[in-house]
Amino acid sequence: MPPAAATNLAHKPPDGGWGWAVVVAAFISIGFSYAFPKSLTIYFKEIQEYFSVSYSEIAWLSSVMLASMYAGGPVSSILVNRYGSRPVVMLGGLMVSAAMVLSSFGTTIIHLYLCVGVIGGFGLAFNLQPALTIIGTYFQAKRPLANGLAMTGSPVFLSILAPLNQFLFDSYGWRGSFLILGSIVLNCCVAGALMRPVHKQVASKPSSPLPKFNKAVDEGAAADASMQTADSDPEERRHEGKGPSQASKLADFSLFKHRGFLIYLTGNVVMFFGFFAPVVFLAPYAKHQGIDEYSAAFLLTIFALVDMFIRPFTGFLGNTRRIRPKIQYFFSFAVSYNGICHLLFPLASGYSGLVVYAVFFGVGFGMVSALLFEVLMDLVGAPRFSSALGLVTIIECGPVLLGPPMLGALVDTFGEYKYLYVTCGVLMLAPGLFFFIMHYFNYKKLKEEQKPEAAVETRRPGETVELKTNDEASK
């Protein structure tokens, strides 16, 4: 019996149709959000020479950007709750574009911190949150697949942006490249244009009576007011009426009482300390072992390629009838698999050992990335997802920023990389096992909670496949 997360939506998610265009839009937005900061590192050397700063000062640029991206999460989720995904993504695209254009005229490094770091970071946050949220409104039954496909944007964009940035740098230097990147990143606005609010789809159809929900997922309400539409959907009016009273629930702190959310949060906070560090240190470790630079870089290419293909595949697996109801176990398995991978890595030797590790790690990293937001959606449900995501990102900000430097200090003190990988392994395996145990209890409790509910309500919201067929029959 699948556990039901509260997915009380005002509409029935299309699970297709324009939804696939929205997946493409989310693909673009997520791609820019994750890959853009990483690809800017190509310019660091020249910028360092130009402004005569030390390496750590230029590395701060990456950190400021990442910190702004995570800190902008709650702001972004408030805006999405209020205005829907589309305006926020378009605003985010404009912000990043303006940030890059302004910074191309920059005269000091502080200028760059403010423009690229703060404004750019916030702009990317305004891309990430809405992209993930809108998938939850368009997809229900095929949501894991949609999430997996959308998250594939990150490795694909990184593979495109890295050589593109190198080419731009060789042709135009860093100033010209920042200017052109400012225009390239405007494609986020295109992605935003594609993110049609979902109410417009079902505008002409009156749907069955709404069950109560604690927050309006009014993708369409505010947007509809500005868009010209002649629909006379009674629910829309009701939504708009509810609008002001829902404003107080923009930041949903009641999530901290949500059992599933707390499990997710605690596990993730520990996990993120050791999630990105192995990627960051893969090439340096390879060079430390005596591998030449190109082969070390090739390891990362292998890793990215495996990652790219595993994400949609994981999404597809997560969608299958067997796994979908127990998707939390799948996520726990993915996290634990990562941990075991890192723990076994010090045993590998030679370049072939590194390649094998890159492949296995690529599989693990891709699996976790594809499921990361899907399981959160599964736990808290699509209406509260936006607020949940905002809270999660700001709390995860700490581990993500502190993880690699702390582990780097570990390498410096011991002079050996194997302690880093063992630590990362433990940091992933422990949450993985934690997830397994906690979700076992959570699933049990949810089953118990559903039994009396099922007796009361004839229509149960949930993610069962049976319900979908029922809905289809009722059309």
């Binding site: 135009y172 100033r175 405007l186 606005c189 295109v190 505008a203």
Partner: protein, 335 residues
């Protein structure tokens, strides 16, 4: 930078190394004196009236020349004169079999270079083998030796005093059977070679860096040049155009207020006692219009896409509205 041929008289003072280095020089000197004394004795026998001046002159000459040799031979007990900087010792050995070997030697300072070549004997196992040393392809006079087979190898060794830039070159040991080992002496090469040009903008400034590998407390002299392969012009710091900042192993040339004329090749030279190495950096100067063109092109493309998407959406929603109205009309009719 390298002189042609072996013209340096100092070359004659390069002697083979023996464990009792200094005394070998004295011994050879004594042997030379003995040889010339024998010769002059022979002369005395022919010219019957013994003129001691005749004897004295060559002996005196020999003594003075011996004196010169003495100062130049290796004598560990002798302290070098204060004006000559102490030379570091560098030893390289090569084992040869049947193929020629090339060994690259990176020199950062003046050295005493001990080179040793050992040729592994083949099936013939000849008891003796001749070998000589050559420099830049030309045989060094008086370096041809006959070496005996010892522990399956023929060994030949020589000391070279690399005391100035002219002495840097390729030294080779060549064996009778045409097997040779080349020791290529050179100043350190730049590791990071950038083959793409540095791009900067008119009225902007640019910093061209040059970095050399080495130990941390090493202090190098840096020179900058502008020009091309054939003609290079030395750059001196002018306050409104160039700024050179050199610090140990790195040097940075800052060009201020760029113009199109500043584009071209720049060379940074790291100067060592044994010579200097140059690294070319190409500078390209463009106006801001260059990147502005693709920027505007992409901007227009994005705006078009967004407009098209919104228009399509409006069309679709209009269609749905008309369909919806028709449905409502039908439903009303049915009711």
């Amino acid at each position: 930078m390298r002189p042609d041929g072996i013209t340096n008289t100092e070359m004659s003072h390069d002697v083979t190394v023996k464990p009792d280095g200094g005394r070998a020089g004295a011994r050879s000197c004594a042997a030379a004196a003995e040889r010339s004394a024998r010769r002059s004795r022979g002369r005395r026998m022919k010219t019957m009236p013994a003129s001691w001046k005749l004897l004295l002159l060559p002996t005196l000459l020999l003594m003075t020349s011996c004196g010169r040799t003495d100062t130049k031979t290796l004598d560990p007990t002798q302290t070098p004169p204060a004006s000559v900087p102490p030379l570091a010792d560098l030893k390289r050995e090569v084992v040869l079999k049947s193929e020629n070997v090339t060994e690259n030697i990176e020199l950062r300072q003046l050295v005493r270079l001990f080179l040793e070549c050992s040729l592994t004997a083949d099936q013939n196992k000849l008891p003796n083998m001749t070998a000589f040393w050559s420099r830049d392809g030309q045989e060094i006079p008086d370096s041809r030796l006959t070496v005996a087979l010892e522990k399956e190898q023929y060994g030949i060794q020589r000391l070279f005093n690399i005391t100035s830039e002219e002495k840097v070159g390729t030294y080779s040991c060549v064996f009778e059977n045409k097997v040779r080992a080349d020791f290529v002496l050179a100043t350190p090469r730049f590791r990071e070679k950038r083959d793409k040009p540095v791009v900067s903008y008119v009225h902007d400034f640019v910093v061209l860096p040059c970095k050399m590998e080495g130990s941390e407390n090493e202090s190098l002299t840096w020179l900058w040049f502008k020009g091309n392969e054939t003609h290079k012009e030395r750059i001196s710091a002018q306050p409104d155009r160039f700024e050179i900042r050199s610090q140990n192993l790195t040097s940075r040339l800052k060009l201020i207020n760029l113009t199109f004329a500043d584009a071209g090749f720049y060379y940074c030279a790291a100067v060592y006692a044994v010579g200097s190495t140059m690294n070319p950096i190409k500078l390209k100067v463009i106006t801001f219009w260059e990147p502005l063109k693709p920027f505007i092109a992409i901007l227009i493309a994005v705006v078009l896409l967004v407009v098209v998407i919104f228009l399509c959406e409006k069309q679709q929603s209009k269609k749905k509205v008309t369909e919806g109205n028709e449905e409502n009309v039908d439903q009303n009719n049915i009711k």
